[in-house]
């Protein structure tokens, strides 16, 4: 395998996705508006400490933006009949999967960093560890872009089916990840329950980076996010490989 060609195929796939699916006015506006609406829904009107909850809000934002468009790409390409042409170009399945993830990660991180920068102008945010903050943005965007690509993998050329599946998986994760109730305030079964969600570890990593009040040691958050990313990527590859064998 020529690694130069493989890298090139990944980067061109990423560029293709960014240009066709992400760099569109409505997508960018939705990416910015949706977390804002979620923020207004859950935080405004309640007597909450915004600084305490900000890491959870940032994680939620990154989670939604990085995994929002990815689930649609493959079903959309299958419906538009561009997927077959893409497969006949000098790419392999891994190029497509990683290219999809990179595009989602760039979009998620880009939007979240803009929002973080804007919020830091109006809120007295502190950064305890800049390297951890950068790592949280990178790991979080890649992990949840990989989730988006995994959600795109089941056999369908109907994007609305995938949107339903996507909502079914993503919305519950948001409620069991320490976004609305800080992890430090959870005990017993509730705490164990939140440990199932990969989003919990991103929320915790942002807590470590911003407020320095993480529950888990940062290396645990990092290892879990890396492990979950590998599982998502591997699963997406296996499912899409199976689809290729079946010719669907």
């Amino acid at each position: 395998m020529d690694w130069h060609l493989l890298t090139k195929s990944i980067l061109v796939t990423t560029e293709k996705n960014m240009r066709i699916y992400y760099f569109k006015g409505p997508v960018v506006v939705f990416g910015l508006l949706f977390p804002l609406i979620m923020f207004l829904t859950f935080f405004i009107g309640r007597d909450l400490d915004l600084i305490l909850f900000f890491p959870g809000f940032l994680a939620m934002m990154l989670f939604f933006t990085a995994s929002s468009v990815g689930p649609l790409i493959t079903p959309w390409e299958k419906r538009e009949k561009t997927y077959e042409r893409l497969l006949s170009l000098p790419v392999i399945l891994e190029s497509i999967v990683i290219g999809d993830i990179l595009a989602g990660a760039i979009f998620g991180a880009g939007i979240s960093i803009i929002v973080f920068a804007a919020c830091s102008l109006v809120l007295p945010l502190s950064v305890t560890s800049l390297p951890l903050l950068v790592l949280a943005f990178i790991l979080g965007s890649v992990t949840f872009a990989a989730l988006g690509t995994l959600l795109a993998s089941p056999t369908t050329d109907n994007p609305s089916n995938i949107m339903m599946l996507s909502s079914l998986v993503r919305l519950p994760l948001m409620f069991i990840s320490g976004i609305f109730i800080p992890l430090s305030q959870l005990t017993g079964w509730f705490f164990i329950f939140t440990s199932i969600s990969p989003l919990t570890y991103l929320v915790d990593l942002f807590h470590a980076a911003l407020n320095g009040d993480a529950v888990y040691p940062p290396w645990v958050d990092i290892l879990v996010l890396i492990g979950v990313t590998l599982v998502f990527v591997w699963s997406a590859k296996v499912i899409q490989r199976r689809n290729l064998v079946k010719g669907i």
Partner: protein, 305 residues
């Protein structure tokens, strides 16, 4: 070196055997036709050749490179127009072509020059910046062809490239295939348009029910299955059937204002008819021999499809 060497390709979908032990060898520089009725296994075979579909058994080598072992290197040698594939409708014609060129690793200057040249050749220069979603089917197919040939591929694979196209687009496709072949590309073309295959291909494989039933040059295929050749003749005055039988010309039947003489040997029959006309003082108004038809070979080979 062979441009394509596929051995024992087999693909089943559930219990249905779509392609069964298909082997194809395409010499470099040729135009190879892959004929078959709908559902015969043409597209499934092409999808396996282009690395889109994983075969259950068999192997494919493109210019000696195994598609399974080194798919990117093998695909770099190909330009593919898939039957079920189209270009991105949210990009312009030019953007589609340049994006494809990037996949093939072409340098910026080269891909821009080549894109302009191809757009001009395919009559798309005026619309190069328009979104493909505003294009007709024929124009989309031309963009698809432009994408497939942007890197001057050594192997061009076209799956039903002219189906549903208007005359102008169809002619452009055929001209492009010929030109690419003249410039050195090997061409693999699937079609169920027999005349197209006849006009373009130096060699043809006929596939039916997932297996190759014949591989020959179009002329040899026609001759193999030519069972009803005839000579058609008309004279300056009416003649009767006994005139032919008296001259040892059997199987003559009236056909409008002409006579049709069925024969295994058109050459001998034409000479006999000329002798007969001389002897009887008849003037020949018209005389023609039927050409063996590839359609006949195709129908015979794919009977029951």
């Amino acid at each position: 070196m062979d441009a394509v060497r596929a051995t024992g390709l087999t693909k089943k979908f559930g219990t249905f055997s779509a392609v069964d032990n298909v082997s194809i060898t395409i010499p470099e520089g040729s135009i190879f036709g892959f004929l078959g009725p709908n559902g015969a296994g043409k597209t499934t075979t092409i999808r396996m050749l282009t690395g889109v579909l994983v075969p259950d058994a068999g192997s494919v080598r493109i210019f000696g490179i195994d598609v399974h072992d080194d798919p990117i290197a093998a695909k770099l040698k190909m330009g593919v127009i898939p039957e079920n594939g189209t270009v991105y409708s949210d990009l312009s014609a030019l953007q589609n072509i340049l994006l494809t060129a990037k996949f093939f690793g072409m340098e910026r200057v080269t891909r821009e020059e080549r894109a302009c040249e191809i757009l001009e050749r395919l009559g798309l220069s005026d619309r190069q910046d328009d979104l493909v979603r505003t294009f007709s089917k024929g124009m989309r197919q031309r963009v698809s062809i432009a994408c497939a040939i942007i890197h001057a591929p050594p192997l061009l694979i076209l799956d039903e490239p002219t189906t549903g196209l208007d005359v102008y687009s169809r002619r452009l496709v055929i001209d492009t295939v010929r030109r690419m072949n003249r410039e050195g590309s090997t061409v693999l073309l699937t079609t169920h348009n027999i005349e197209e295959a006849n006009a373009l291909c130096s060699r043809i494989s006929v596939i039916n029910h997932g297996t190759i039933v014949a591989t020959e040059s179009p002329e040899k295929l026609k001759k193999t299955f030519d069972t009803s050749r005839y000579v058609e003749i008309s004279f300056n005055r009416e003649v009767d059937a006994p005139l032919f039988s008296a001259s040892c010309i059997p199987n003559a039947e009236p056909y409008g204002d002409k006579w049709r003489v069925y024969t295994d040997d058109p050459d001998r029959t034409v000479k006999s008819l000329v002798t007969l006309a001389d002897r009887e003082g008849l003037s020949i108004v018209s005389i023609a021999t039927s050409n063996p038809s590839l359609e006949e070979a195709f129908v015979t080979l794919t009977a029951g499809a």
